[in-house]
């Protein structure tokens, strides 16, 4: 029984109800087998009239109906548990925020939250009901047998525990061997995928054909190792099978002899014959479902490991959807209610051109140090700088120097361990209100598996089609979007249309344009990996976008750097003195 999983199942009302229904139906159907055996034995021995078969028909019908109920309730249980776990996993990821350590293997998380949780199905809808039946039905059968025939009941009572005992003995004896073998198996099984993935490399060095022989040898080794394991692993089911069938023989033969001497009535004898196997069957079923269930347990363990992971990295926690205190202070000392310039942000519609936009902000960093958890060097070290309202600043420096960290700092993805970030003189509170003032174009913008239009209106969901088009025109995306099969309604992403790197950047810029309320522009190498022609288009669009806004642009290429009013060089997390930069420009 998986503790966390059961707690989750009991915690959600709908799940609790369905799980209870599923288990109850399974147990009830199991108990009805007793009634069925009773009636059948009675009719066959002539104790009951043939009309009792009507009762048998009823029992059969009810058992079938209970089977249906059990299956439906199991479907509800497992889908609901999976949905709940998925929801928690994804909310957890949102909490951890985009600056979560890269070691958190995004691909694995996607798999875990997707297909990975499906491994819970056999556990929830197969193993748990079988376990419930195994806990109740054998005891009920035993009670009935004791009432019917003491001698047979004793035989079953004595042999029944043999199954779990032998199972445990075989299990204990083979556990170490089996575990070692399973590990070896997964390695050997993984070998094939490994070779297939590495085939281009093997081909390059003329080793592809040779490897086919290795695959055969490994498969042979894989098979003999597996068979060695299975020979032992199947022993437990051999014991189950033997215990069940031998005890039937142990019951049937003495019963027959006692009938011969007349010390037993035929109806009881038949009842014993029909009931005895039913005591063993539930245990056999649980055993058969155990292995598949263990995969589900592994998936659950992994999920709860992610959920229980330490939340906060070093430093203060970042409120992702927090709210900013109701007002912000303008540089002239005037206090602007948050609602004013933001009025149309609330409706989610971008402000129309010409509508007032908050004045471009001044950004002041005072001795800011940023450190990522688990790294010894600071990503930014004692950085102080001032970016004036409306200024366009290019950040240059080697990769890993801290340029992106500076952007993430302004985005509120990371918080300083020391120093302050002041926006118009007020300490930055990275919440919804602050992020609504931003437009961000990352190095590798993610395009979502939805329409181009929805991708562009990511930051202003209420934007009309015309506003989306206007933004696309401004970012020079309109020209290729209209050429797509369904224009702005074309679905992007893995299963949708594929865009080139330049086109993706233009969609990302259109996102920024579709947010006219933004007064701080943050761009992370928007022209990296673009050819000269695409770069020119992006630079023009960026120049246009930066008008009247404060802009911080991480840049590599001269065209983008030329666009800036000032170049700031970052080296090893530190801002280089301006004098040194003047020399290289």
């Amino acid at each position: 029984m998986h503790k966390d999983l059961v707690r989750l199942a009991l915690g959600e009302r709908a799940v609790r109800r369905h799980l209870a229904l599923c288990l109850a139906a399974a147990v009830l159907a199991g108990l009805l087998v007793l009634v069925q055996a009773e009636v059948l034995a009675g009719v066959l021995s002539g104790r009951f009239a043939t009309s009792a078969l009507a009762l048998l028909a009823l029992v059969v019908a009810v058992r079938a109906a209970l089977g249906l109920v059990q299956g439906v309730a199991a479907g509800h249980t497992s889908t609901r548990v999976k949905s709940a776990l998925r929801r928690r996993l994804l909310s957890r990821l949102q909490e951890l925020g985009p600056a979560r350590p890269a070691s958190r293997r995004s691909g694995e998380l996607v798999t875990l939250a997707g297909r990975g949780l499906d491994a819970l199905d056999p556990y929830l809808s197969g193993y748990l009901p079988a376990a419930a039946v195994a806990a109740v039905v054998p005891i009920a059968v035993l009670v009935r047998l004791f009432a019917a025939d003491l001698a047979s009941a004793v035989i079953v009572l004595v042999t029944l525990p043999l199954i779990p005992i032998f199972g445990a003995l075989v299990g204990m004896h083979t556990k170490a061997v089996t575990e070692r073998q399973w590990r070896a198996l997964s390695r050997l099984g993984g070998h094939f995928l490994d070779v297939i993935r590495g085939l281009p490399t093997l081909r390059a060095f003329g080793r592809a054909r040779y490897q086919a022989e290795v695959i055969r040898k490994v498969a042979d080794a894989h098979r003999s190792a597996t068979m060695r394991t299975l020979r032992v692993a199947f022993l437990s089911s051999l014991v189950l099978e033997l215990a069940a069938s031998l005890s039937l023989a142990l019951v049937a033969v003495p019963v027959g002899l006692r009938l011969l001497s007349g010390s037993l009535v035929p109806s009881t004898a038949l009842l014993v014959l029909l009931l005895a196997p039913e005591a063993y069957l539930p245990l056999r079923n649980v055993g058969n479902k155990f292995h598949a269930a263990m995969e589900g347990v592994a998936a659950a363990d992994e999920t709860f490991a992610v959920l229980d992971e330490e939340t906060a990295p070093a430093g203060r926690t970042v409120p992702n959807e927090g709210t900013v205190p109701g007002a912000r202070t303008m540089p002239n000392g005037e206090t602007v209610p948050a609602g004013k310039a933001v009025s149309d942000r609330r409706t989610g519609r971008p402000a129309q051109d010409g509508e007032p936009r908050g004045r471009a902000p001044e950004i002041r960093l005072e001795n800011v140090t940023v450190r990522y958890p688990g790294r010894s060097e600071a990503a930014l070290e004692d950085v102080s700088l001032v970016i004036s309202p409306g200024e366009r600043v290019a950040l240059v420096g080697e990769s890993g120097a801290g340029k992106s960290t500076l952007l993430h700092l302004l985005l509120g993805f990371v918080t300083p361990v020391a120093g302050r970030v002041l926006i118009d003189g007020v300490e930055l509170v990275a919440g919804t209100a602050w992020r609504e003032r931003l437009a961000f174009v990352p190095q590798r913008p993610h395009l979502f598996a939805t329409s181009v239009a929805d991708n562009i209106r990511l930051g202003s969901p209420g934007a009309t089609v015309d506003e989306v088009r206007a933004a696309a025109r401004a970012s020079h995306a309109d020209e290729f979007v209209t050429g797509l099969p369904d224009g702005y309604e074309t679905v992007l992403g893995e299963r949708g249309a594929n865009l080139s790197a330049g086109q993706r950047q233009r969609v990302a810029l259109a996102r920024a344009f579709c947010r006219p309320s933004a007064d701080l522009l943050l761009l992370d190498e928007p022209t990296a990996r673009l050819d000269g022609r695409s770069e020119g288009v992006i630079v023009t669009a960026t120049r246009h976008l930066a008008e009247g806004r404060t802009a911080v642009i991480v840049a590599h290429r001269p065209a983008m750097i030329d666009l800036a009013d000032r170049v700031i060089r970052i080296t090893d997390g530190r801002v280089m003195p301006a004098a040194l930069i003047g020399g290289s420009r």
């Binding site: 199991a74 281009p200 390059a204 039937l248």
Partner: protein, 559 residues
């Protein structure tokens, strides 16, 4: 193959025998008890008593044998399938068939063969034999009851499984897109976390994901209901069949012994038959997987091998590329659009240009991984299409895009590029790839690649370079040897490399221009065509891509 068939027959026979023993056990026990109630002589029961004991013992042993034989045969079948798949993949194929996800799915698909045998065919054989035996037994006792049993078994063993198979086909057609949609939403949430946070769209994306999840869950629930219906119908069929047999038997005045034996054997004969419903459902998935594997095997390779390959021309290698055009699929823009280039012995040429310009495609064409649309590549005068592609790659190979690290020791990972190399040569390759400190730290026998976490991007790149240097082909191809290294190491490595390959015919793809003054020619590719060519000192003097890149490199690196 014949031994395979024998093993399969053996497994099927053991399975059927186990089920028959079960049938015999209940039949003889029922006979024993009902006959004993008539209080005959003890001798009349002795055969039944022996039968009960023999069937009881053999059932478990036979079942054990069946499971072992079945898994053995399934593993053998899977190994054969895997080997055939691998051999089909050896010739370079179309790029879009070789994504990482597709490869994982192919490997998963090879498991389907195992399921086909262990979960579909062998149980079906056992169910068939058991059913036939029960019906034949019934024919001897009471033909009318046998017909009832036959009808019940056909419903449970044929009609219901056919229904579940059809339902599985219909449901998988509806569930697969819903599942893909949900997976895409999850991927959006994870991979697009920064975009979502920056634009405050995380809540909406979470809601969209929950909606997709709800749609999938609703479909899964309906599928569960369909499967539960099949289970319920199976149990109903079993119960009603037994009931009908008792009615028919008592109606036709069969004796108590015959009625009981008929009823109980009928009850037990359903045991191997009822799981056929689940097998029918699984069969649909298995057949789909097998069809996908057949399609992969039927995909024609990217390049056609000559029927009678020419022998490799001897002498120092001269490679002449003339007006080469390569297209990655009909209707797509040309990846290489009329490129000409000559590599004479000892000459070193660098290819630069933006990503997507066609640099790696040119290397692929040289390695016979893609078929040119037009134009020629000649190796010492022989067109490489006339050579076997293995021979071509013996002449021209090196560091390719996306090098791979195998789950094997560091030594084996390196040695695959030079199986005959001695320790000294291995060490030399490692030293030239600037990997010796890492090797000294982790040791030659460390297994790499487990979970892909032991090797960083830079180390992988240098390992791949070491392989290329160890292989030492006549024409050395190097695709971005300094990729994913830090600046300092990259500079040092390029400097070493340019020294080490002096006088060696080399084609170098790079985006770093530092040190390129040492190569004989620089070719700038853009959109599949050569836009600039010449030596470094010439190219930095004229406006163009090269000079722009040179300046921005100087600016960002602070030189």
């Amino acid at each position: 193959m014949r031994s395979m068939r024998g093993r399969l027959a053996l497994a099927a026979a053991a399975g059927a025998a186990a089920e028959l023993a079960g049938l015999g056990l209940i039949g003889s026990a029922a006979w024993l008890i009902t006959r004993a109630a008539e209080q005959p002589e003890l001798a009349a029961l002795s055969v039944a008593i022996v039968g009960v004991r023999a069937f009881a013992t053999s059932k478990g042993v036979l079942r054990y044998g069946e499971r072992l034989a079945g898994h053995d045969v399934a593993l053998r079948a899977q190994a054969t399938t895997r080997e055939r798949l691998y051999r089909a993949l050896i010739p370079a194929g179309p790029l879009n068939h070789r994504g990482a996800d597709l490869l994982s799915r192919m490997v998963d698909d090879t498991e389907a063969v195992q399921d086909l045998l262990v979960r579909c065919l062998l149980p079906a054989a056992a169910a068939l034999v058991t059913g036939v035996a029960a019906v034949v037994l019934g024919l001897f006792l009471l033909p009318a009851a046998a017909l009832v049993l036959l009808a019940g078994l056909v419903v449970a063993g044929v009609l219901i499984p056919a229904g579940t198979a059809a339902a599985a086909r219909r449901w998988s057609a509806r569930i697969a897109p819903a599942r893909a949609d949900q997976a895409a939403r999850v991927a959006d949430l994870v991979h697009g976390a920064a975009d979502l946070a920056a634009y405050g769209a995380g809540g909406r994306a979470l809601a969209a994901c929950a909606e997709a999840d709800a749609r999938l869950a609703a479909l899964e629930r309906r599928q569960a209901r369909a499967n539960a219906t099949a289970t319920g119908l199976g149990a109903l069929t079993q119960g009603l069949t037994v009931l009908a047999i008792v009615l028919v038997a008592s109606g036709s005045g069969a004796g108590r012994v015959a009625t009981t034996v008929l009823a109980l054997t009928a009850l037990v004969s359903f045991e191997p038959v009822l799981p056929m419903a689940a097998a029918g459902e699984r069969l649909t998935g298995v057949l789909t997987a097998l069809r996908r594997l057949r399609e992969v095997r039927a995909t024609p390779p990217a390049v056609t091998e000559p029927t009678a390959p020419s022998p490799l021309p001897g002498g120092p290698p001269t490679v002449e590329i003339d007006n080469l055009v390569v297209r990655h699929g009909p209707g797509r823009p040309a990846a290489l659009d009329g490129v000409s280039l000559t590599l004479t012995p000892g000459r070193r040429v660098a290819l630069v240009g933006p990503s997507g310009a066609g640099k790696s495609t040119l290397l692929s064409a040289l390695m016979r991984l893609v078929e040119p649309e037009s134009g020629t590549i000649r190796l010492n005068g022989v067109e490489i299409g006339e050579l076997s592609s293995d021979d071509t790659r013996r002449m021209m190979t090196g560091l390719t895009q996306d090098p791979y690290v195998f789950q094997a020791s560091l030594r084996d990972n390196l040695r695959l590029a030079g199986p005959e190399a001695d320790e000294e040569e291995l060490a030399e390759a490692v030293r030239r790839a600037r990997l010796e400190r890492w090797v000294a730290r982790i040791g030659w026998d460390t297994v790499l690649g487990e979970d892909g976490r032991t090797v960083s991007g830079g180390q992988l790149q240098r390992l791949a370079l070491a392989r290329a240097l160890l292989n030492d082909p006549p024409v050395l191809l190097l695709d971005e040897p300094a990729e994913s290294l830090d600046e300092e190491t990259a500079d040092a490595l390029m400097a070493d490399l340019l020294d080490a390959t002096h006088g060696h015919t080399t084609l170098l793809v790079t985006h770093r221009l530092r040190g390129l003054e040492k190569v004989d020619e620089i070719v700038v590719l853009e959109n599949g065509a050569v836009v600039q060519r010449g030596a470094h000192r010439e190219l930095v003097r004229v406006p163009g891509y090269y000079r722009d890149l040179w300046r921005s490199e100087a600016l960002t690196a602070g030189r």
